[in-house]
Protein backbone atom coordinates (compact mmCIF):
# COMPACT_ATOMS: atom_id res chain seq x y z
CA UNK A 1 0.00 0.00 0.00
CA UNK A 2 2.99 2.26 0.67
CA UNK A 3 3.84 2.98 -2.95
CA UNK A 4 0.25 3.68 -3.84
CA UNK A 5 -0.19 6.08 -0.93
CA UNK A 6 2.90 8.13 -1.75
CA UNK A 7 1.28 9.23 -5.00
CA UNK A 8 -1.94 10.24 -3.28
CA UNK A 9 -0.68 12.85 -0.84
CA UNK A 10 -1.87 15.81 -2.90
CA UNK A 11 -5.01 14.19 -4.29
CA UNK A 12 -8.50 15.53 -3.45
CA UNK A 13 -11.78 13.62 -3.39
CA UNK A 14 -14.99 15.42 -4.26
CA UNK A 15 -17.82 13.89 -2.29
CA UNK A 16 -18.02 10.95 0.07
CA UNK A 17 -18.31 8.39 -2.73
CA UNK A 18 -14.94 9.23 -4.27
CA UNK A 19 -13.19 8.94 -0.93
CA UNK A 20 -14.89 5.61 -0.17
CA UNK A 21 -13.97 4.25 -3.62
CA UNK A 22 -10.30 5.08 -3.27
CA UNK A 23 -10.13 3.54 0.22
CA UNK A 24 -11.91 0.42 -0.99
CA UNK A 25 -9.45 0.08 -3.87
CA UNK A 26 -6.42 0.42 -1.63
CA UNK A 27 -7.82 -2.01 0.92
CA UNK A 28 -8.54 -4.55 -1.81
CA UNK A 29 -4.95 -4.23 -3.01
CA UNK A 30 -3.70 -4.75 0.54
CA UNK A 31 -6.06 -7.75 0.85
CA UNK A 32 -7.44 -6.56 4.13
CA UNK A 33 -10.11 -8.98 5.22
CA UNK A 34 -12.77 -8.19 7.78
CA UNK A 35 -13.44 -11.44 9.54
CA UNK A 36 -16.22 -10.24 11.73
CA UNK A 37 -19.73 -10.33 10.33
CA UNK A 38 -20.85 -6.97 11.73
CA UNK A 39 -18.13 -4.94 10.06
CA UNK A 40 -18.53 -3.89 6.47
CA UNK A 41 -15.72 -5.30 4.41
CA UNK A 42 -15.07 -2.24 2.27
CA UNK A 43 -16.08 1.28 3.20
CA UNK A 44 -19.13 2.50 1.30
CA UNK A 45 -20.75 5.94 1.32
CA UNK A 46 -22.94 5.10 4.27
CA UNK A 47 -20.07 3.99 6.50
CA UNK A 48 -18.03 7.05 5.57
CA UNK A 49 -20.93 9.32 6.52
CA UNK A 50 -21.29 7.43 9.79
CA UNK A 51 -17.58 7.88 10.58
CA UNK A 52 -17.91 11.58 9.80
CA UNK A 53 -20.78 12.04 12.23
CA UNK A 54 -18.91 9.96 14.83
CA UNK A 55 -15.86 12.19 14.41
CA UNK A 56 -13.60 9.31 13.35
CA UNK A 57 -12.97 11.23 10.14
CA UNK A 58 -12.14 14.93 10.26
CA UNK A 59 -14.66 17.18 8.51
CA UNK A 60 -13.82 18.35 4.99
CA UNK A 61 -11.81 21.53 4.87
CA UNK A 62 -13.37 22.83 1.65
CA UNK A 63 -16.47 22.48 -0.49
CA UNK A 64 -17.17 22.35 -4.19
CA UNK A 65 -20.76 23.46 -4.56
CA UNK A 66 -22.60 21.25 -2.07
CA UNK A 67 -20.01 18.45 -2.16
CA UNK A 68 -17.35 18.17 0.53
CA UNK A 69 -13.77 17.92 -0.65
CA UNK A 70 -11.62 15.42 1.27
CA UNK A 71 -7.87 14.93 1.22
CA UNK A 72 -4.99 12.71 2.29
CA UNK A 73 -5.80 13.03 6.01
CA UNK A 74 -9.33 11.65 5.65
CA UNK A 75 -8.06 8.87 3.39
CA UNK A 76 -5.51 7.82 6.02
CA UNK A 77 -8.15 8.03 8.77
CA UNK A 78 -10.51 5.82 6.82
CA UNK A 79 -7.80 3.26 6.06
CA UNK A 80 -6.70 3.27 9.70
CA UNK A 81 -10.24 2.68 11.00
CA UNK A 82 -10.74 -0.24 8.62
CA UNK A 83 -7.36 -1.67 9.44
CA UNK A 84 -8.00 -1.56 13.18
CA UNK A 85 -11.46 -3.05 12.76
CA UNK A 86 -9.84 -5.95 10.95
CA UNK A 87 -7.82 -6.44 14.14
CA UNK A 88 -11.06 -6.69 16.12
CA UNK A 89 -10.64 -3.53 18.12
CA UNK A 90 -13.81 -1.94 19.48
CA UNK A 91 -14.76 1.51 18.13
CA UNK A 92 -13.85 3.08 21.48
CA UNK A 93 -10.23 1.91 21.17
CA UNK A 94 -10.10 2.80 17.49
CA UNK A 95 -11.17 6.30 18.35
CA UNK A 96 -8.32 6.56 20.89
CA UNK A 97 -5.83 5.52 18.24
CA UNK A 98 -7.13 7.57 15.32
CA UNK A 99 -8.70 10.75 16.64
CA UNK A 100 -6.53 13.85 16.45
CA UNK A 101 -3.56 12.00 14.87
CA UNK A 102 -1.43 13.71 12.26
CA UNK A 103 -0.83 12.33 8.78
CA UNK A 104 2.63 11.18 9.89
CA UNK A 105 1.21 9.34 12.90
CA UNK A 106 -1.48 7.68 10.82
CA UNK A 107 1.11 6.59 8.26
CA UNK A 108 3.08 5.02 11.08
CA UNK A 109 -0.05 3.31 12.36
CA UNK A 110 -0.61 1.88 8.89
CA UNK A 111 3.05 0.89 8.70
CA UNK A 112 3.69 2.88 5.53
CA UNK A 113 6.08 5.49 6.93
CA UNK A 114 9.72 5.73 5.97
CA UNK A 115 12.08 4.28 8.58
CA UNK A 116 15.61 5.69 8.40
CA UNK A 117 18.63 3.75 9.65
CA UNK A 118 18.81 3.31 13.42
CA UNK A 119 21.98 5.12 14.29
CA UNK A 120 21.14 8.42 12.75
CA UNK A 121 17.50 8.09 13.67
CA UNK A 122 18.14 7.93 17.42
CA UNK A 123 20.74 10.66 17.42
CA UNK A 124 18.99 13.09 15.14
CA UNK A 125 15.79 12.49 17.08
CA UNK A 126 17.47 13.51 20.33
CA UNK A 127 19.02 16.52 18.64
CA UNK A 128 15.56 17.56 17.52
CA UNK A 129 14.28 17.15 21.09
CA UNK A 130 17.01 19.46 22.33
CA UNK A 131 16.31 22.06 19.66
CA UNK A 132 12.59 21.95 20.40
CA UNK A 133 13.24 22.44 24.09
CA UNK A 134 15.38 25.47 23.26
CA UNK A 135 13.46 27.16 20.49
CA UNK A 136 10.14 26.85 22.27
CA UNK A 137 10.81 26.49 25.97
CA UNK A 138 8.16 24.04 27.17
CA UNK A 139 7.64 25.99 30.32
CA UNK A 140 7.02 29.14 28.34
CA UNK A 141 8.04 32.47 29.77
CA UNK A 142 4.95 34.37 30.85
CA UNK A 143 4.01 37.41 28.78
CA UNK A 144 5.20 40.73 30.10
CA UNK A 145 2.50 41.89 32.39
CA UNK A 146 0.82 45.23 32.19
CA UNK A 147 -2.01 45.60 34.70
CA UNK A 148 -3.74 48.24 32.57
CA UNK A 149 -4.11 45.91 29.58
CA UNK A 150 -4.74 42.75 31.53
CA UNK A 151 -6.84 40.81 29.10
CA UNK A 152 -5.83 37.17 28.89
CA UNK A 153 -3.78 36.22 25.88
CA UNK A 154 -1.95 33.23 24.58
CA UNK A 155 1.39 32.75 26.25
CA UNK A 156 4.10 33.44 23.72
CA UNK A 157 7.58 32.03 23.85
CA UNK A 158 10.21 34.68 24.05
CA UNK A 159 13.18 34.34 21.73
CA UNK A 160 15.77 32.24 23.51
CA UNK A 161 18.93 33.98 24.54
CA UNK A 162 21.79 32.36 22.75
CA UNK A 163 25.50 32.70 23.02
CA UNK A 164 27.92 32.65 20.10
CA UNK A 165 28.01 28.84 20.22
CA UNK A 166 24.26 28.76 19.84
CA UNK A 167 23.71 27.43 23.37
CA UNK A 168 20.88 28.76 25.43
CA UNK A 169 21.90 30.46 28.60
CA UNK A 170 19.75 30.62 31.68
CA UNK A 171 17.02 28.32 32.94
CA UNK A 172 13.47 28.56 34.21
CA UNK A 173 12.52 27.61 37.70
CA UNK A 174 8.95 26.64 38.54
CA UNK A 175 7.48 27.52 41.88
CA UNK A 176 4.09 26.21 42.91
CA UNK A 177 2.13 28.98 44.63
CA UNK A 178 -0.73 26.60 45.33
CA UNK A 179 -1.98 23.46 43.58
CA UNK A 180 -2.76 24.44 40.00
CA UNK A 181 -0.94 27.75 40.05
CA UNK A 182 2.74 28.14 39.25
CA UNK A 183 5.20 30.96 38.94
CA UNK A 184 8.04 30.58 36.45
CA UNK A 185 11.20 32.57 37.12
CA UNK A 186 14.07 32.96 34.69
CA UNK A 187 17.57 32.70 36.11
CA UNK A 188 18.37 36.13 34.63
CA UNK A 189 15.48 37.75 36.51
CA UNK A 190 16.34 40.04 39.42
CA UNK A 191 13.47 40.83 41.80
CA UNK A 192 12.77 44.53 42.46
CA UNK A 193 14.25 45.96 45.61
CA UNK A 194 11.79 48.80 46.28
CA UNK A 195 8.61 48.06 48.23
CA UNK A 196 6.52 50.05 45.75
CA UNK A 197 7.51 47.88 42.80
CA UNK A 198 6.99 44.74 44.86
CA UNK A 199 3.46 45.88 45.71
CA UNK A 200 2.81 46.53 42.03
CA UNK A 201 3.94 42.99 41.29
CA UNK A 202 1.62 41.57 43.94
CA UNK A 203 -1.26 43.60 42.50
CA UNK A 204 -0.47 42.21 39.05
CA UNK A 205 -0.72 38.63 40.34
CA UNK A 206 -4.05 39.36 42.05
CA UNK A 207 -5.28 40.91 38.82
CA UNK A 208 -4.36 37.85 36.76
CA UNK A 209 -6.06 35.49 39.17
CA UNK A 210 -9.27 37.54 39.42
CA UNK A 211 -9.45 38.03 35.63
CA UNK A 212 -9.04 34.31 35.24
CA UNK A 213 -11.72 33.56 37.81
CA UNK A 214 -14.12 35.97 36.02
CA UNK A 215 -13.42 34.18 32.79
CA UNK A 216 -14.30 30.86 34.46
CA UNK A 217 -17.58 32.08 35.95
CA UNK A 218 -18.43 33.70 32.60
CA UNK A 219 -17.96 30.34 30.88
CA UNK A 220 -20.10 28.51 33.39
CA UNK A 221 -22.86 31.09 33.05
CA UNK A 222 -23.21 30.40 29.34
Amino acid sequence: MKGALEKLQQRKYVGVAELADMAARLLAEARLVQERGTVSEVPDERTVRYYLTEGLLSPAEEKQGTASVFGYLQLLQLLAVKNLQAQHLPIRKIRELVEGRSERELERLLGVDAKPANKHAALSYLESLLTQARVAPPTPPPPKFSPSAAQSRAVQSAAPQTTAQGRVTGTWERIELEPGLELHIHSAYRPPAEAKRLRRLAAAVVHVVTTYSHKLTGKRGR
Binding site: Q87, G111, K119, A122, Y125, L126, A133
Partner: protein
Protein backbone atom coordinates in the same frame (compact mmCIF):
# COMPACT_ATOMS: atom_id res chain seq x y z
CA UNK B 1 23.22 -20.14 17.78
CA UNK B 2 19.89 -20.37 16.03
CA UNK B 3 17.12 -18.36 17.62
CA UNK B 4 14.57 -20.45 19.42
CA UNK B 5 11.03 -19.27 19.92
CA UNK B 6 9.11 -18.48 23.10
CA UNK B 7 6.72 -21.12 24.39
CA UNK B 8 3.05 -20.23 24.75
CA UNK B 9 0.65 -22.07 27.05
CA UNK B 10 -3.07 -21.51 27.49
CA UNK B 11 -4.11 -22.49 31.00
CA UNK B 12 -7.65 -22.64 32.33
CA UNK B 13 -8.86 -23.46 35.83
CA UNK B 14 -10.33 -26.74 34.59
CA UNK B 15 -9.35 -28.46 31.37
CA UNK B 16 -12.92 -28.47 29.99
CA UNK B 17 -15.92 -26.16 29.94
CA UNK B 18 -19.38 -26.94 31.26
CA UNK B 19 -21.75 -27.73 28.39
CA UNK B 20 -25.05 -26.01 27.64
CA UNK B 21 -24.36 -22.68 29.24
CA UNK B 22 -22.87 -19.36 28.30
CA UNK B 23 -19.99 -18.61 30.62
CA UNK B 24 -17.03 -16.47 31.56
CA UNK B 25 -13.69 -18.10 30.96
CA UNK B 26 -10.41 -16.80 32.36
CA UNK B 27 -7.46 -17.89 30.26
CA UNK B 28 -3.97 -17.59 31.68
CA UNK B 29 -1.58 -17.14 28.79
CA UNK B 30 1.95 -17.97 29.86
CA UNK B 31 4.73 -16.84 27.59
CA UNK B 32 8.02 -18.53 28.45
CA UNK B 33 11.00 -16.90 26.73
CA UNK B 34 13.60 -19.23 25.24
CA UNK B 35 16.78 -19.77 27.25
CA UNK B 36 19.59 -17.32 26.76
CA UNK B 37 22.62 -18.63 24.88
CA UNK B 38 24.62 -20.95 27.14
CA UNK B 39 28.10 -19.46 27.05
CA UNK B 40 28.39 -16.39 29.26
CA UNK B 41 30.36 -14.47 26.64
CA UNK B 42 27.41 -14.89 24.29
CA UNK B 43 25.25 -12.53 26.31
CA UNK B 44 24.11 -9.44 24.41
CA UNK B 45 26.60 -6.62 24.32
CA UNK B 46 25.59 -3.63 26.46
CA UNK B 47 25.80 0.02 25.48
CA UNK B 48 24.78 1.94 28.59
CA UNK B 49 24.58 5.49 29.78
CA UNK B 50 24.15 6.17 33.48
CA UNK B 51 22.31 9.43 33.97
CA UNK B 52 22.79 10.30 37.60
CA UNK B 53 21.00 12.98 39.60
CA UNK B 54 23.30 14.94 41.89
CA UNK B 55 20.87 17.67 42.84
CA UNK B 56 20.88 19.00 46.40
CA UNK B 57 18.29 16.54 47.67
CA UNK B 58 20.58 13.62 46.85
CA UNK B 59 22.98 14.80 49.52
CA UNK B 60 24.07 12.28 52.13
CA UNK B 61 23.50 8.56 52.01
CA UNK B 62 21.56 8.60 48.72
CA UNK B 63 24.50 10.12 46.87
CA UNK B 64 26.95 7.72 48.50
CA UNK B 65 24.83 4.68 47.58
CA UNK B 66 24.15 5.91 44.06
CA UNK B 67 27.89 6.39 43.52
CA UNK B 68 28.59 2.91 44.84
CA UNK B 69 25.86 1.42 42.66
CA UNK B 70 27.26 3.14 39.57
CA UNK B 71 30.72 1.81 40.39
CA UNK B 72 29.26 -1.63 40.93
CA UNK B 73 27.67 -1.37 37.49
CA UNK B 74 31.05 -0.59 35.92
CA UNK B 75 32.51 -3.57 37.74
CA UNK B 76 29.93 -5.93 36.22
CA UNK B 77 30.52 -4.92 32.60
CA UNK B 78 32.66 -6.77 30.09
CA UNK B 79 35.45 -4.90 28.31
CA UNK B 80 33.43 -5.26 25.10
CA UNK B 81 30.50 -3.29 26.61
CA UNK B 82 30.27 0.47 26.38
CA UNK B 83 29.57 2.84 29.23
CA UNK B 84 29.07 6.57 29.63
CA UNK B 85 27.90 8.70 32.54
CA UNK B 86 26.06 12.00 32.66
CA UNK B 87 25.58 13.79 35.95
CA UNK B 88 23.08 16.56 36.39
CA UNK B 89 21.56 19.16 38.63
CA UNK B 90 20.62 22.40 36.87
CA UNK B 91 23.88 21.98 34.95
CA UNK B 92 24.61 18.92 32.89
CA UNK B 93 28.03 17.41 32.85
CA UNK B 94 29.34 14.59 30.70
CA UNK B 95 31.39 12.85 33.36
CA UNK B 96 32.39 9.84 31.27
CA UNK B 97 32.11 10.05 27.46
CA UNK B 98 30.99 6.79 25.90
CA UNK B 99 33.86 4.31 25.87
CA UNK B 100 34.57 0.60 26.19
CA UNK B 101 34.28 -0.54 29.82
CA UNK B 102 37.94 -1.48 29.87
CA UNK B 103 39.83 0.78 32.26
CA UNK B 104 37.54 0.10 35.18
CA UNK B 105 39.62 1.67 37.94
CA UNK B 106 39.80 4.95 36.12
CA UNK B 107 36.04 4.91 35.43
CA UNK B 108 35.27 4.13 39.05
CA UNK B 109 37.49 6.86 40.39
CA UNK B 110 35.72 9.39 38.17
CA UNK B 111 32.36 8.27 39.55
CA UNK B 112 33.72 8.62 43.08
CA UNK B 113 34.00 12.36 42.57
CA UNK B 114 30.29 13.00 42.16
CA UNK B 115 28.81 15.24 44.87
CA UNK B 116 25.31 16.56 45.36
CA UNK B 117 24.28 20.17 44.63
CA UNK B 118 21.70 22.32 42.74
CA UNK B 119 18.26 21.69 41.11
CA UNK B 120 17.08 19.02 38.65
CA UNK B 121 17.41 19.33 34.84
CA UNK B 122 16.17 15.77 34.38
CA UNK B 123 15.03 15.95 30.78
CA UNK B 124 18.09 17.45 29.18
CA UNK B 125 20.35 15.12 31.17
CA UNK B 126 18.35 12.15 29.86
CA UNK B 127 18.71 13.50 26.32
CA UNK B 128 22.48 13.84 26.82
CA UNK B 129 22.75 10.27 28.09
CA UNK B 130 20.68 9.10 25.14
CA UNK B 131 23.05 10.91 22.80
CA UNK B 132 26.05 9.14 24.27
CA UNK B 133 24.37 5.82 23.58
CA UNK B 134 23.13 6.87 20.13
CA UNK B 135 26.47 8.21 18.92
CA UNK B 136 27.91 4.76 19.52
CA UNK B 137 24.76 2.86 18.67
CA UNK B 138 25.48 -0.86 18.35
CA UNK B 139 23.16 -3.06 16.32
CA UNK B 140 22.09 -6.18 18.23
CA UNK B 141 23.42 -4.77 21.51
CA UNK B 142 21.17 -3.50 24.26
CA UNK B 143 21.37 0.25 23.93
CA UNK B 144 20.01 1.71 27.14
CA UNK B 145 19.91 4.80 29.32
CA UNK B 146 19.62 4.31 33.09
CA UNK B 147 18.12 7.39 34.69
CA UNK B 148 18.71 7.63 38.43
CA UNK B 149 16.97 10.39 40.34
CA UNK B 150 15.28 11.23 43.61
CA UNK B 151 13.55 14.37 42.47
CA UNK B 152 11.16 16.16 40.18
CA UNK B 153 12.11 17.60 36.83
CA UNK B 154 12.11 21.29 37.65
CA UNK B 155 14.49 22.80 35.12
CA UNK B 156 14.05 22.81 31.34
CA UNK B 157 11.40 20.48 29.90
CA UNK B 158 9.19 19.62 32.87
CA UNK B 159 5.97 18.41 31.25
CA UNK B 160 5.71 14.65 32.06
CA UNK B 161 3.69 13.85 28.92
CA UNK B 162 6.30 15.38 26.67
CA UNK B 163 9.15 13.65 28.48
CA UNK B 164 7.34 10.30 28.24
CA UNK B 165 6.65 10.87 24.52
CA UNK B 166 10.30 11.69 24.01
CA UNK B 167 11.37 8.47 25.72
CA UNK B 168 8.91 6.47 23.63
CA UNK B 169 10.24 8.09 20.45
CA UNK B 170 13.81 7.18 21.40
CA UNK B 171 12.83 3.58 22.14
CA UNK B 172 11.23 3.35 18.69
CA UNK B 173 14.66 4.24 17.38
CA UNK B 174 16.40 1.49 19.29
CA UNK B 175 17.50 3.10 22.57
CA UNK B 176 15.53 2.07 25.64
CA UNK B 177 15.37 3.77 29.05
CA UNK B 178 15.08 2.36 32.55
CA UNK B 179 14.35 4.59 35.50
CA UNK B 180 15.38 4.26 39.12
CA UNK B 181 13.51 6.49 41.54
CA UNK B 182 14.98 6.87 45.00
CA UNK B 183 13.10 7.65 48.20
CA UNK B 184 9.73 9.38 48.48
CA UNK B 185 10.17 12.58 46.47
CA UNK B 186 10.54 11.56 42.83
CA UNK B 187 7.59 11.73 40.46
CA UNK B 188 6.27 8.19 39.99
CA UNK B 189 3.76 9.49 37.45
CA UNK B 190 6.74 10.49 35.32
CA UNK B 191 9.34 7.77 35.92
CA UNK B 192 7.06 4.73 35.68
CA UNK B 193 5.27 5.72 32.46
CA UNK B 194 8.61 6.84 31.06
CA UNK B 195 10.22 3.40 31.51
CA UNK B 196 7.08 1.67 30.33
CA UNK B 197 6.90 3.73 27.14
CA UNK B 198 10.63 3.40 26.60
CA UNK B 199 10.96 -0.38 26.69
CA UNK B 200 12.83 -0.41 29.99
CA UNK B 201 12.09 -1.11 33.64
CA UNK B 202 10.90 1.20 36.38
CA UNK B 203 12.46 0.63 39.79
CA UNK B 204 11.62 2.16 43.12
CA UNK B 205 14.45 2.19 45.63
CA UNK B 206 12.87 2.87 49.00
CA UNK B 207 16.05 2.81 51.01
CA UNK B 208 19.44 3.88 49.68
CA UNK B 209 20.96 0.58 50.80
CA UNK B 210 18.73 -1.24 48.27
CA UNK B 211 20.33 0.60 45.38
CA UNK B 212 22.99 -1.91 44.51
CA UNK B 213 20.53 -4.81 44.57
CA UNK B 214 18.25 -3.00 42.12
CA UNK B 215 21.21 -2.29 39.87
CA UNK B 216 22.07 -5.96 39.98
CA UNK B 217 18.52 -6.97 39.02
CA UNK B 218 18.46 -4.45 36.16
CA UNK B 219 21.80 -5.70 34.84
CA UNK B 220 20.80 -9.35 35.15
CA UNK B 221 17.65 -8.50 33.22
CA UNK B 222 19.64 -6.81 30.47
CA UNK B 223 21.97 -9.77 30.16
CA UNK B 224 19.05 -12.21 30.11
CA UNK B 225 17.08 -10.20 27.57
CA UNK B 226 16.20 -12.41 24.61
CA UNK B 227 13.68 -10.24 22.76
CA UNK B 228 12.40 -6.69 22.69
CA UNK B 229 9.53 -4.78 21.07
CA UNK B 230 7.09 -7.43 22.19
CA UNK B 231 3.41 -7.13 21.31
CA UNK B 232 0.40 -9.36 21.72
CA UNK B 233 -2.66 -9.57 19.49
CA UNK B 234 -5.68 -11.57 20.63
CA UNK B 235 -8.51 -12.34 18.22
CA UNK B 236 -11.48 -14.17 19.73
CA UNK B 237 -13.29 -16.52 17.36
CA UNK B 238 -16.89 -15.96 16.24
CA UNK B 239 -19.31 -15.88 19.14
CA UNK B 240 -16.54 -15.41 21.73
CA UNK B 241 -16.00 -12.01 23.28
CA UNK B 242 -12.81 -10.71 24.86
CA UNK B 243 -14.35 -8.82 27.76
CA UNK B 244 -11.19 -7.91 29.66
CA UNK B 245 -7.43 -8.13 29.61
CA UNK B 246 -6.58 -8.09 33.28
CA UNK B 247 -3.02 -6.85 32.89
CA UNK B 248 -4.28 -3.55 31.41
CA UNK B 249 -1.36 -3.32 29.01
CA UNK B 250 -1.02 -0.19 26.92
CA UNK B 251 -1.96 -0.48 23.28
CA UNK B 252 0.69 -0.06 20.61
CA UNK B 253 0.08 2.28 17.71
CA UNK B 254 -1.09 -0.69 15.68
CA UNK B 255 -3.65 -1.72 18.27
CA UNK B 256 -1.76 -4.64 19.83
CA UNK B 257 -1.01 -4.94 23.53
CA UNK B 258 2.47 -3.71 24.39
CA UNK B 259 4.32 -6.31 26.48
CA UNK B 260 7.56 -5.98 28.45
CA UNK B 261 10.83 -7.26 26.97
CA UNK B 262 11.32 -11.01 27.18
CA UNK B 263 13.96 -12.21 29.61
CA UNK B 264 15.22 -15.77 29.86
CA UNK B 265 13.98 -17.40 33.05
CA UNK B 266 11.15 -14.90 33.55
CA UNK B 267 7.85 -16.16 32.08
CA UNK B 268 5.21 -13.56 31.43
CA UNK B 269 1.65 -14.19 32.54
CA UNK B 270 -1.27 -12.53 30.82
CA UNK B 271 -4.89 -13.11 31.80
CA UNK B 272 -7.68 -12.72 29.24
CA UNK B 273 -11.28 -12.84 30.41
CA UNK B 274 -13.60 -14.22 27.73
CA UNK B 275 -17.30 -14.68 27.33
CA UNK B 276 -17.92 -17.99 25.54
CA UNK B 277 -21.23 -19.21 24.13
CA UNK B 278 -23.11 -22.32 25.08
CA UNK B 279 -22.27 -25.59 23.34
CA UNK B 280 -23.14 -29.28 23.64
CA UNK B 281 -21.16 -31.82 25.69
CA UNK B 282 -18.50 -33.72 23.80
CA UNK B 283 -17.90 -30.92 21.26
CA UNK B 284 -14.84 -28.68 20.82
CA UNK B 285 -14.63 -24.96 20.24
CA UNK B 286 -11.94 -22.80 18.76
CA UNK B 287 -11.72 -19.94 21.27
CA UNK B 288 -8.88 -17.61 20.49
CA UNK B 289 -6.09 -16.81 18.02
CA UNK B 290 -2.93 -15.34 19.44
CA UNK B 291 -0.19 -13.43 17.67
CA UNK B 292 2.99 -12.65 19.54
CA UNK B 293 5.25 -10.15 17.80
CA UNK B 294 8.83 -9.75 19.03
CA UNK B 295 12.32 -8.93 17.87
CA UNK B 296 14.89 -11.50 19.01
CA UNK B 297 17.95 -9.88 20.54
CA UNK B 298 20.37 -11.32 17.98
CA UNK B 299 18.25 -10.34 14.97
CA UNK B 300 17.03 -7.10 13.51
CA UNK B 301 13.77 -8.26 12.04
CA UNK B 302 10.56 -8.80 13.97
CA UNK B 303 9.10 -12.29 14.20
CA UNK B 304 5.51 -13.32 14.71
CA UNK B 305 4.41 -16.41 16.55
CA UNK B 306 0.84 -17.55 15.94
CA UNK B 307 -1.06 -19.99 18.06
CA UNK B 308 -4.68 -20.82 18.59
CA UNK B 309 -6.55 -22.14 21.58
CA UNK B 310 -9.35 -24.72 21.61
CA UNK B 311 -11.33 -26.20 24.47
CA UNK B 312 -13.73 -29.10 24.91
CA UNK B 313 -17.22 -28.99 26.49
CA UNK B 314 -18.38 -31.64 28.92
CA UNK B 315 -21.27 -32.29 31.31
CA UNK B 316 -21.06 -30.35 34.56
CA UNK B 317 -20.69 -33.44 36.73
CA UNK B 318 -17.70 -34.53 34.65
CA UNK B 319 -16.09 -31.09 34.65
CA UNK B 320 -16.40 -30.85 38.42
CA UNK B 321 -14.40 -34.04 38.75
CA UNK B 322 -11.51 -32.58 36.78
CA UNK B 323 -8.50 -31.32 38.72
CA UNK B 324 -8.48 -27.62 39.52
CA UNK B 325 -5.51 -25.50 38.51
CA UNK B 326 -4.96 -22.88 41.18
CA UNK B 327 -2.63 -20.79 39.02
CA UNK B 328 -5.53 -19.25 37.12
CA UNK B 329 -7.67 -17.91 39.98
CA UNK B 330 -4.48 -16.78 41.70
CA UNK B 331 -3.29 -14.81 38.67
CA UNK B 332 -6.78 -13.30 38.36
CA UNK B 333 -6.87 -12.33 42.03
CA UNK B 334 -3.40 -10.76 41.98
CA UNK B 335 -4.17 -8.74 38.87
CA UNK B 336 -7.44 -7.60 40.45
CA UNK B 337 -5.37 -6.57 43.44
CA UNK B 338 -3.13 -4.55 41.11
CA UNK B 339 -6.24 -2.72 39.96
CA UNK B 340 -7.23 -2.19 43.59
CA UNK B 341 -3.87 -0.53 44.17
CA UNK B 342 -4.49 1.81 41.25
CA UNK B 343 -7.97 2.56 42.53
CA UNK B 344 -6.47 3.34 45.94
CA UNK B 345 -4.14 5.86 44.25
CA UNK B 346 -7.11 7.51 42.54
CA UNK B 347 -8.94 7.76 45.85
CA UNK B 348 -5.83 9.14 47.55
CA UNK B 349 -5.41 11.74 44.84
CA UNK B 350 -9.02 12.79 45.34
CA UNK B 351 -8.39 13.11 49.08
CA UNK B 352 -10.59 10.11 50.00
CA UNK B 353 -8.19 8.31 52.29
CA UNK B 354 -10.83 6.23 54.05
CA UNK B 355 -12.05 5.03 50.67
CA UNK B 356 -8.50 4.20 49.55
CA UNK B 357 -8.01 2.14 52.70
CA UNK B 358 -11.28 0.30 52.27
CA UNK B 359 -10.38 -0.62 48.68
CA UNK B 360 -7.22 -2.26 49.99
CA UNK B 361 -9.05 -3.97 52.84
CA UNK B 362 -11.50 -5.36 50.27
CA UNK B 363 -8.64 -6.68 48.13
CA UNK B 364 -7.01 -8.28 51.15
CA UNK B 365 -10.27 -10.01 52.12
CA UNK B 366 -10.86 -11.26 48.59
CA UNK B 367 -7.32 -12.65 48.59
CA UNK B 368 -8.03 -14.46 51.86
CA UNK B 369 -11.20 -15.99 50.42
CA UNK B 370 -9.33 -17.10 47.32
CA UNK B 371 -6.60 -18.61 49.50
CA UNK B 372 -9.16 -20.79 51.29
CA UNK B 373 -10.01 -22.58 48.04
CA UNK B 374 -6.36 -22.95 47.07
CA UNK B 375 -4.08 -25.91 47.76
CA UNK B 376 -1.84 -25.62 50.81
CA UNK B 377 1.27 -25.40 48.66
CA UNK B 378 0.35 -21.96 47.36
CA UNK B 379 -0.70 -20.57 50.76
CA UNK B 380 2.59 -18.66 51.24
CA UNK B 381 2.02 -16.76 47.97
CA UNK B 382 -1.40 -15.61 49.10
CA UNK B 383 -0.07 -14.80 52.54
CA UNK B 384 2.68 -12.63 51.08
CA UNK B 385 0.22 -10.80 48.85
CA UNK B 386 -2.08 -10.15 51.81
CA UNK B 387 0.82 -8.95 53.93
CA UNK B 388 1.69 -6.41 51.22
CA UNK B 389 -1.88 -5.18 50.95
CA UNK B 390 -2.24 -4.90 54.72
CA UNK B 391 1.04 -3.06 54.97
CA UNK B 392 -0.10 -0.60 52.31
CA UNK B 393 -3.39 -0.12 54.11
CA UNK B 394 -1.69 0.64 57.40
CA UNK B 395 0.82 2.99 55.80
CA UNK B 396 -2.15 4.94 54.41
CA UNK B 397 -3.21 5.66 57.99
CA UNK B 398 -0.05 7.64 58.53
CA UNK B 399 -0.41 10.80 56.50
CA UNK B 400 3.26 11.62 56.89
CA UNK B 401 3.95 8.58 54.72
CA UNK B 402 1.63 9.63 51.88
CA UNK B 403 4.26 10.13 49.25
CA UNK B 404 5.95 6.83 50.00
CA UNK B 405 2.60 4.98 50.17
CA UNK B 406 1.62 6.28 46.77
CA UNK B 407 4.91 5.10 45.28
CA UNK B 408 4.56 1.67 46.86
CA UNK B 409 1.07 1.35 45.42
CA UNK B 410 2.16 2.46 41.95
CA UNK B 411 5.27 0.31 41.94
CA UNK B 412 3.51 -2.86 43.12
CA UNK B 413 0.73 -2.33 40.58
CA UNK B 414 3.33 -1.95 37.81
CA UNK B 415 5.33 -5.01 38.92
CA UNK B 416 2.26 -7.25 39.12
CA UNK B 417 1.02 -6.34 35.68
CA UNK B 418 4.43 -6.78 34.10
CA UNK B 419 5.17 -10.02 35.88
CA UNK B 420 8.31 -8.63 37.46
CA UNK B 421 10.09 -10.22 40.38
CA UNK B 422 8.79 -9.11 43.70
CA UNK B 423 11.14 -7.26 45.96
Amino acid sequence: MASSTPKIEFITERAKLVADREQTLDVLIRITPPDAPQATNARPQLNLSLVLDRSGSMQGEKMVRAREAAQYCVEQLLPTDRISAVIFDDQIELLIPSQPAARKDELKSRLAEVFARGTTALHEAWVRGGMQVSEHFIERAINRVLLITDGLANVGETNPDRIVDGARGLAERGVSTSTIGIGADFNEDLLMPMAQAAGGNAWHVERPEDMQRIFAVELEGLIAQVAHTVSLGLVPSDGVKLSDLLNDFELTETGRYQLPNLQAGAPLEVVARLRVPTQAAGTRRHVLDLKLGYTPQELRAAEVLKQSFEIEYEREAVVNQLPCNDEVPRAVQFLMNARARREAIRQMDAGNYAQAQSVLVGASRATMTAAQCAPAASAPLYAEERAQLDELESSLRDRAQDKMSRKRLAYQDYSRRHGKERK
